[in-house]
């Protein structure tokens, strides 16, 4: 097994497109984080009395009034508007200060991780490439002749990709520490953030690794069944949409006796466990997420078990497939 892992590393380190994807995804994650910060940090311009007065004058609402009546009415309206806008601005500022805490350490860790939907999809792509390319280049037979044991070959690929996934998540977490520091150094406003619940945060990171393994197992299974790596991401997205449609069918509506069923679906299960753990960890980023309340609280162990069960199912199908398939490439 160690030889296969070493061989995989020798192969991957020379694979330029693979590194481009990983580096690109890291950059996109940081850009998404900064984009969200910029949007949340935006300060609305203060009330402009002159502009508002001009708008009132052009509206023609003072026609038929005497000059004194119009002036009094105009001054009153401007004052009312000023009071209302100042009240709104104060509320917005409170909300802005609350929102900006997401970008300060330690909240930034989970905010950065939460901006990382693309890396998850990219890892699906990487996983489908890792196996699909063996069919595309015809190297599957060369690899299997060298590796002999097909189960070990697949296990080595999965382990390599899991290490890469864990590395990517770790990189994102490190960036979650560094980017707020850079923001602060550059003079950006980053108010102090409330702490995270450490055990729940650690568990969330571990579950994220499990989720990535599950998604990659899905990609590998599809690549092995279809003997191509090009369709895994597309099929995952199609599957996700179908699952979403099915989960929203009236028979699964809250209050119905089948309401808990969608929580056992793959993508819905992932979404549920991630949001639950993010909430438990005290992530401010997740508190702004809108998601339908769970019909039944299955409890964290069951929620994690659902994701684990799907992962094991995909892995066992992939394992069965590679061990029984005829290699005709």
């Amino acid at each position: 097994m160690r030889n296969l892992l070493r061989a995989d590393w020798l192969r991957l380190r020379r694979r330029r497109d693979f590194w481009v994807i990983l580096i690109g995804i890291t950059i996109v994650t940081v850009v998404t984080f900064l984009g969200a910060y910029r949007s949340d940090a935006m300060v609305f311009p203060p009330f402009n009395e002159v502009e508002f007065g001009q708008m009132l004058d052009e509206s023609g609402m003072f026609e038929g009034m005497t000059a004194e009546e119009a002036a009094a009415q105009r001054a009153q309206m401007i004052e009312d508007q000023r009071a209302q806008e100042e009240q709104e601005a104060a509320a917005r500022e409170v909300q802005r200060q609350l929102d900006l805490r997401k970008y300060a350490f330690p909240q930034s860790l989970l905010t950065m991780l939460g901006s990382a939907i693309l890396p998850f999809l990219a890892l699906v792509l990487v996983a489908s490439m890792a196996v699909g390319d063996e069919f595309r280049f015809g190297t599957l037979r060369t690899s299997l002749l060298a590796a002999s044991n097909r189960r070990r070959f697949l296990a080595a690929r999965m382990i390599s990709m899991t290490v890469i996934a864990a590395g990517l998540i770790a990189t994102i977490l490190v960036l979650g520490v560094l980017v707020p520091v850079i923001l602060a150094i550059s003079g950006a406003e980053v108010p102090p953030a409330p702490p995270l619940n450490l055990p729940a945060t650690a568990l969330l990171v571990a579950v994220d690794v499990l989720v990535v393994v599950g998604l990659m197992a899905f990609a590998v299974m599809v690549a092995l069944i279809l003997r191509t790596g090009t369709l895994s991401v597309v099929l995952l997205l199609i599957y996700g949409l179908i699952e979403l449609y099915v989960a929203n069918l009236p028979i699964f509506a809250i209050g119905n006796y089948l309401a808990a069923v969608p929580q056992f679906f793959f993508i819905q299960g992932i979404r549920a466990v991630q949001l639950r753990l993010a909430t438990d960890a005290g992530s401010l980023a997740s508190s702004s997420d809108s998601f339908s309340p769970m019909a039944v609280d299955l409890g964290l162990p069951v929620m994690i078990a659902i994701v684990l069960a799907w992962t094991l199912l995909f892995l066992s199908i992939a394992d069965r497939r590679i061990r029984s398939m005829d290699v005709t490439e």
Partner: protein, 329 residues
């Protein structure tokens, strides 16, 4: 490369008793098409065993079955007495080149050898030196660092041979190893094959290049439509194609000789010297006995010559359907 003065390439110790390759009723069907129709083979240890057959005879399918890349529909194959299944441990003792060799196009020649060599369990220290030696051996030292994606068919073929040589396997299975090579390359490869056999490896050579068989093989099996139609030493196959041409001065003598020699004798055009002639389907060693029998009956041939069919003619006779054979002039 450990090449001794006789040009042999040393292989690892192998105490082999019984056939190195043994198949029993080996069959492979793809949907409705039977690719291999029940092959029984017993390849002894040592030397070069030729596996002949026209295109589409089932050679490559048989080789993929031997290497555990395909699952047999029926029957079994054993290597070194161990049953071959996908991922069977015995496959690690086999070096193989399958037609149209496949490598990672984004890696250089030496990196491809390192990746597949590492997967086979060769240590990095050994591999570093060995990969360079092997590339020298197959004539690719000058392009060792060039990406394989730009290699010609012949260069890929050489690299695949390099991979076979890398860990000195006890059994080497080669499928059309001289495909795509220039004449110098063909000579080099034949020298390498002879070297491997001289070093103690058993070489199973699938080819349809008959001079290669005549030069290298100790035994051959001829395959037609997925079935072995002849098996033995090339010399014995050639003996099967031997016959005696006997010319007489008169047609009466020829008729009398045919009556004595029985059904093995057939009429033949007498050639430019006239008279009457017969062909007798017997090995050349029988010539003196035939002559003695005719002399005892007071029939004296004007001419008695041995006609030998080339291996090519034997091959054509065995592999072309009777209704496809050209009519002799």
């Amino acid at each position: 490369m450990e090449t001794n003065v006789a040009g042999s390439i040393a292989v690892g110790p192998a105490a082999i008793t019984g056939p190195v390759i043994e198949t029993r009723g080996l069959r492979k069907r793809f949907d409705e098409a039977v690719a291999v129709g029940g092959i029984d083979l017993a390849v002894p240890a040592g030397g070069v065993y030729g596996f002949l057959g026209p295109n589409g005879a089932g050679k490559t399918t048989t080789i993929r079955l031997l290497l555990g890349l395909l699952r047999p529909t029926a029957g079994s194959c054993r290597l070194f007495g161990e049953l071959v299944e996908p991922g069977a441990p015995v496959l690690s003792r086999v070096g193989a080149l399958i037609e149209r060799p496949a490598f990672y196009p984004y890696l250089s020649a030496i990196d491809n050898l390192r990746v597949f060599g590492t997967a086979r369990g060769i240590t990095a220290i050994v591999l570093g030196e060995r990969a360079r030696e092997v590339l020298e051996q197959v004539g690719l030292a000058a392009v060792a660092r060039r990406k394989v994606g730009g290699f010609s068919t012949g260069m890929l073929q050489r690299l695949a041979l390099g991979l076979v040589l890398l860990d000195r396997p006890a059994l080497v299975i080669l499928d059309e190893p001289t495909n795509g090579l220039d004449p110098n390359g063909v000579v080099d490869v034949r020298r390498l094959i002879a070297g491997m056999a001289a070093g103690g490896a058993t070489v199973f050579l699938s080819t349809h290049v008959l001079p290669e068989v005549e030069q290298l093989c100790d035994r051959v099996a001829i395959l037609r439509d997925g079935v072995v139609v002849a098996e033995g030493a090339p010399r014995s196959l050639l003996r099967e194609g031997e016959r005696l041409f006997i010319r007489f001065d008169t047609a009466e003598q020829a008729a009398a000789a045919m009556a004595i020699l029985g059904s093995a004798a057939t009429e033949s055009p007498p050639g430019p010297n006239g008279g009457a002639a017969i062909l007798l389907e017997v090995p050349a060693a029988e010539a003196s006995r035939v002559n003695r029998r005719l002399a005892e009956a007071a029939i004296h041939p004007a001419e008695l010559t041995i006609q030998r069919q080339s291996l090519e003619a034997v091959f054509r006779e065995l592999t072309i359907e009777s209704d496809e054979r050209p009519v002799p002039s």
